[in-house]
């Protein structure tokens, strides 16, 4: 055999090494440990690195200022590649090391982790991913989206169209172009209910994932002569959809998408060509908010930023800051209630579920998380691309929450009866 | 000095299973050497170690030296060994069944850059093997066994070798065809001066044309010498030339039939 002794020993040592070192331990501080296992390499890559950068920059800001409520935040960042064995391993490892929160930022992973998180009482953040019915805190006490789900986003878009049409959508035609996956079909139920309620005609056009080629359906969309177009996808599907919409001459100021549209997408499509397109904004974009300015001054300027400075203030970066801020606010409230811990899942859960009217100094809409409502109130706003940045066209508002909540309840009830 | 010489080579398959051990063979320039032995004795392994085909079968020459024309060839790739002038006609012919005989011959001419030379070579092959010329347009897969064997030999000769190695050319052929093919081998050897290393089960036929021969058994060379010496050896006669001398078995004591060298 030509596996010699030296390479054998080196291999053994290497394997042993991974179990020997835990990540950096702050012996002198009281800490709260988060497992930030996300997909950096497979499907969500286009979001993850920016989202994650924002999150970590915010944690760095908090730690620079001496922590929150006497606690410092330790975030273990790792890649789960949207692969379940890897994600579950990361979850179990985090749990063993005392993590009280996990942010997987992946729908399949979140789905598989739901029963485990509920059982182990570990807070799972499912921002813009996971099950939409997790907004129901009574069914999912430890699953916290803390952000507007896709049903709410669809409700906001329709409400904005209604405003444009001066209060009535009766007889209007709205086209919904979506990726043909469960994720893309999710808003359909809400849109159908709203179509009945508001009296508009809903036409749906699915495209096959991942959506590199949508040239067949957009001419059909044009021929349908819609009053409004909603396109729904992720990653490459979004930019291709927008490009095709422009090529088919659809009026950009009547085209809207979900939260998944960013400056980088606009660079792909062409900044000027896409002028007028709308998206849902769950938090303020750009570098104007005070938190982002603070991060620039106190973290990035000191060379402690988690990534390239150019990305600071982009849409997904700010989503990351938004979620980071909400998590830290949860820690602050938990520490206020029980300053000496012990730091456990329920301890943090208590804090997260008593967030009230939190705006992170003007970054987010007033967000209130309760034991029933994990969505945080369902407020968002519509922003329009002006060729250089997204400019808000509405104020923070919530809309159609009755319809959304009946859908949430319908699904969460099924979960309660059939789930574990 | 010999054209090809194997000095004490040892071949093991899969690192562990020993196939050939301590084999030393010499093929002189213009020589015609026969390598005789029973099934599984290691004849083919020896040929493969010379042509370099052991690797796909997970074998390797662990010890010893193979020199061709004075230089060691162990480190050389099979295609480059062909360019040196060693060609191996595989057991079971392996002609390209979907090509015609002519295309088969052209396929073996990659080393010649000169087209005129190639067509001259082909013409010469068709002269040597008139049967192939008759079937030049048929697919090689439809040729009879003897014709395929001829094609395999012709194809090997297209490389203009200095050493032709033949692995059981008489396999599965009618006696008159065996004679025909062996006549051709002798002709090639005498006319073109190509050295031949002939591996055979059919010892009678082989020793008729060979100048000298080796006997291989259980991966070892047991005996070597001129064809006459081998032919007249009673053990060889008993074991390989099968009743050539019309022995009256009732008269011999039974133990005599054992091969003496194995005792």
């Amino acid at each position: 055999m030509s596996i010699d002794r030296r390479s054998f020993i080196a291999g053994t040592a290497a394997v042993a090494a991974q179990f020997g070192f835990a990540s950096r331990v702050y012996a002198e501080d009281k800490i709260v440990r988060f497992t930030i296992a996300q997909d950096f390499t497979r499907i969500y890559t286009f979001v993850t690195s920016e989202y994650n950068q924002g999150q970590r920059d915010y944690f760095a800001l908090v730690n620079e200022r001496g922590g929150v409520g006497g606690y410092k935040i330790v975030a273990d960042v790792t890649d789960h590649a949207n692969d379940l064995p890897r994600a579950i391993e990361a979850y179990e490892r985090g749990k063993r090391e005392g993590a009280v929160l996990i942010d997987p930022l992946s729908t399949p992973v979140a789905r598989a982790l739901v029963p485990r998180a509920l059982e182990d009482k570990i807070n799972m953040i499912t921002a813009y991913s996971g099950r939409s019915d997790a907004a129901d805190g009574t069914a999912f006490p430890y699953v916290l989206p803390l952000s507007i789900n896709y049903w709410t986003q669809a409700g906001l878009i329709i409400e904005n169209f209604k405003k444009t049409e001066k209060g009535s959508l009766k007889g209007k035609k709205i086209v919904f172009v979506h990726i043909d996956t469960p994720f893309g079909k999710e808003p359909l139920s809400i849109l159908q209910v709203l179509a009945q309620k508001e009296g508009f005609e809903l036409l749906t056009f699915p495209y096959t994932p991942p959506g590199n080629d949508q040239s067949a359906i957009w001419p059909q969309v044009r021929r349908a002569r819609p009053d409004f177009v909603i396109f729904w996808g992720a990653g490459v599907g979004q930019t291709v959809a927008l490009t095709e919409a422009i090529r088919n001459g659809l009026p950009m100021d009547r085209v809207s998408s979900s939260v998944w549209l960013s400056e980088s997408d606009m660079d792909v499509v062409g900044r000027d060509a896409a002028k007028g397109v709308m998206k849902v904004e769950p938090c303020v974009g750009g570098r104007e908010p005070k938190v982002i300015k603070d991060i620039l001054a106190e973290v990035v300027a000191k060379g402690k930023g988690a990534g390239p400075e150019a990305k600071v203030g982009t849409a997904y970066y700010n989503y990351g800051v938004q979620m980071g801020a909400l998590m830290v606010e949860g820690v602050r409230l938990a520490a206020a209630k029980a300053p000496n811990g012990p730091v456990t899942g329920p301890w943090l859960n208590d804090g997260l579920r008593s967030i009230t009217n939190f705006t992170a100094e003007g970054l987010l809409p007033p967000t209130t998380v309760t034991r029933e409502d994990h969505q945080g109130g369902g407020m968002g706003r519509i922003a329009r691309w002006d060729g250089a940045k997204f400019v808000p066209v509405t104020d923070w508002f919530a809309a159609n929450q009755d319809v959304v909540w009946s859908e949430i309840k319908k699904n969460s009830e099924t979960f309660k009866t059939t789930g574990k | 000095m010999a054209l090809l010489s194997l000095n004490n080579i040892e071949v093991a398959y899969d690192q562990v299973f020993l196939a050939v051990r301590g084999v030393s063979i010499e093929v002189p320039e213009r020589g015609l050497v026969a390598l005789l032995g029973a099934n599984g004795a290691g004849k083919s392994t020896v040929l493969k170690s010379i042509s370099g085909l052991l690797k796909p079968e997970r074998g390797a020459v662990n010890r010893g030296e193979i020199t061709f024309d004075g230089r060691s060839i162990l480190a050389i790739d099979p295609p480059d060994r062909v360019r040196l002038g060693i060609v191996h006609v595989l057991e079971g012919r392996r002609v390209f069944g979907h090509l015609t005989p002519r295309e088969n011959l052209i396929a073996a001419a990659t080393m010649h850059r000169d087209r005129g030379h190639v067509s001259a070579l082909i013409d010469r092959m068709f002269q040597t093997f008139p049967r192939l010329a008759e079937r030049a347009k048929a697919k090689a897969g439809y040729l009879s066994g003897g014709e395929q064997q001829m094609l395999a030999i012709a194809r090997a000769l297209m490389t203009e070798p200095r050493l032709l190695m033949l692995d059981e050319p008489s396999l599965g052929l009618a006696p008159f065809l065996v004679d025909e093919i062996f006549d051709i081998i002798r002709a090639i050897n005498e006319r073109d001066g190509v050295a031949v290393l002939l591996v055979e089960q059919n010892a009678t036929a082989a020793l008729e044309i060979a100048h000298s021969g080796y006997l291989i058994e259980n991966g070892r060379i047991l005996m070597g010498g001129t064809a006459d010496v081998l032919r007249s050896n009673p053990d060889v006669a008993d074991a390989y030339l099968g009743g050539h001398q019309k022995v009256d078995y009732h008269a011999v004591k039974h133990y005599r039939r054992r091969k003496r060298w194995l005792a």
Partner: protein, 357 residues
């Protein structure tokens, strides 16, 4: 030396025909089995549910595919879909209140039925053409599952697995699910070890080597090709149910896409086609090399205070993983099982260098 064969004298046919004729092999297998049985007592939950559980389940699946590809020589690129069919059938039945034992078998039969229909393509196609046919199966099954709300489970396309019992034991604790997976893997491994010794196994081997040569020996290619697909798909379906019940606990269509098929294919190729041991090694490498390398890089970076950009930090382990897989295959194209076999052959004759075949 260790695998001593010298002095081994079998006096009864049973002795010679046992699965592991060498005492050392028997001891090794029993030790590993004893360790696996004692694992819940020895290891904490991270190792149990993070490593051993997926290892057992994926290995079971890889063994099933290996029956088809390694034994019968029929290529299959849609094994993920086969498992998906089993998982969905099994979970739906369990939700209807059917006991898990029956749901597993039913899931297996469902997979076997549909798998065999697509496998019928193998009667006319070989090699790369069969690969395309089975790839088509993957996409058709994906499409049907995700476009049928009744199958995939409504708007959210998630089917929660209810609390179930296996042979009277509720599968709620870690150790119960672990033993469940271990039991299934044990049964499948035992089956695979014995397949080689049956006429079925020999017929499959004949098919793989030369299907028309098998035919003139009286092996019906029609029958045995379909049987190979049937048995392999049955195992896939059962393992699909096990995967859903013991590991995923909520099934959604994206879990059974082409990635899963390719992953399992990679496991048996890296592990060793046609080997029982191979899938165990291959699964360990394919499943855990990325995790181990990732953690390794993480701890190395943390220890030495390296400040790698996160994209680099995430992609470097994948690069190393790719190199590792290619490296292993270059070193030993027949897979990790062959690597072990080389070592074993060497030890069998050690301290001598060679054995005469």
């Amino acid at each position: 030396m260790f695998y001593r064969r010298a002095g081994l004298r079998h006096t009864r046919y049973q002795d010679e025909r046992q699965l592991f004729p060498l005492a050392f092999d028997r001891g090794l297998v029993l030790t590993v089995l004893a360790f696996l049985i004692a694992a819940p007592l020895l290891l904490d939950r991270l190792w149990l549910t993070g490593y051993l559980l997926p290892w057992l389940i994926w290995t079971s699946a890889a063994l099933g595919l290996n029956l088809l590809m390694g034994w019968a020589g029929q290529i299959h690129l849609g094994y993920g879909a086969v498992m998906g069919i089993g998982a969905y059938a099994g979970v739906h039945l369990v939700r209807f209140g059917v006991p898990l034992e029956i749901a597993m078998i039913a899931g297996g039969i469902m997979s076997a039925g549909i798998g065999t229909v697509f496998g019928a393509a193998a009667l006319r196609m070989k090699g790369i053409y069969l690969a395309m046919a089975t790839l088509a199966m993957q996409f058709i099954v994906d499409f049907v599952i995700s476009h049928n709300a009744a199958i995939s489970g409504g708007t959210l396309a998630t089917l929660q697995v209810p609390a179930v019992r296996f042979l009277g034991v509720p599968l709620t604790s870690d150790w119960a699910t672990y033993y469940f997976a271990l039991f299934v893997c044990f049964v499948i491994t035992l089956f695979m070890l014995n397949v080689k010794r049956t006429s079925f196994g020999r017929a499959l081997a004949a098919l793989r080597e030369k299907d028309y040569a098998a035919q003139i020996l009286g092996v019906s290619t029609f029958r045995y090709k379909l049987m190979a697909f049937w048995v392999s798909s049955f195992i896939g379906g059962v393992v699909g149910t096990v995967l859903a019940v013991a590991y995923l606990r909520a099934v959604s269509p994206d879990q059974f896409h082409l990635e899963l098929s390719i992953q399992i294919l990679a496991m048996i190729i890296v592990g060793g086609l046609g080997s029982v041991l191979g899938p165990f090694f291959g699964t360990a490498l394919i499943l855990f090399a990325p995790i181990v390398l990732n953690n390794l890089l993480g701890s190395v970076a943390a220890t030495f205070g390296l400040d790698l950009p996160i994209d680099m930090r995430a992609h470097l382990p994948l690069l190393a993983y790719g190199l590792l897989v290619i490296g292993f295959l270059l070193y030993e194209p027949l897979g990790l099982a062959k690597l072990y076999a080389n070592f074993r052959n060497y030890m069998l004759v050690w301290p001598f260098r060679h054995a005469q075949r």
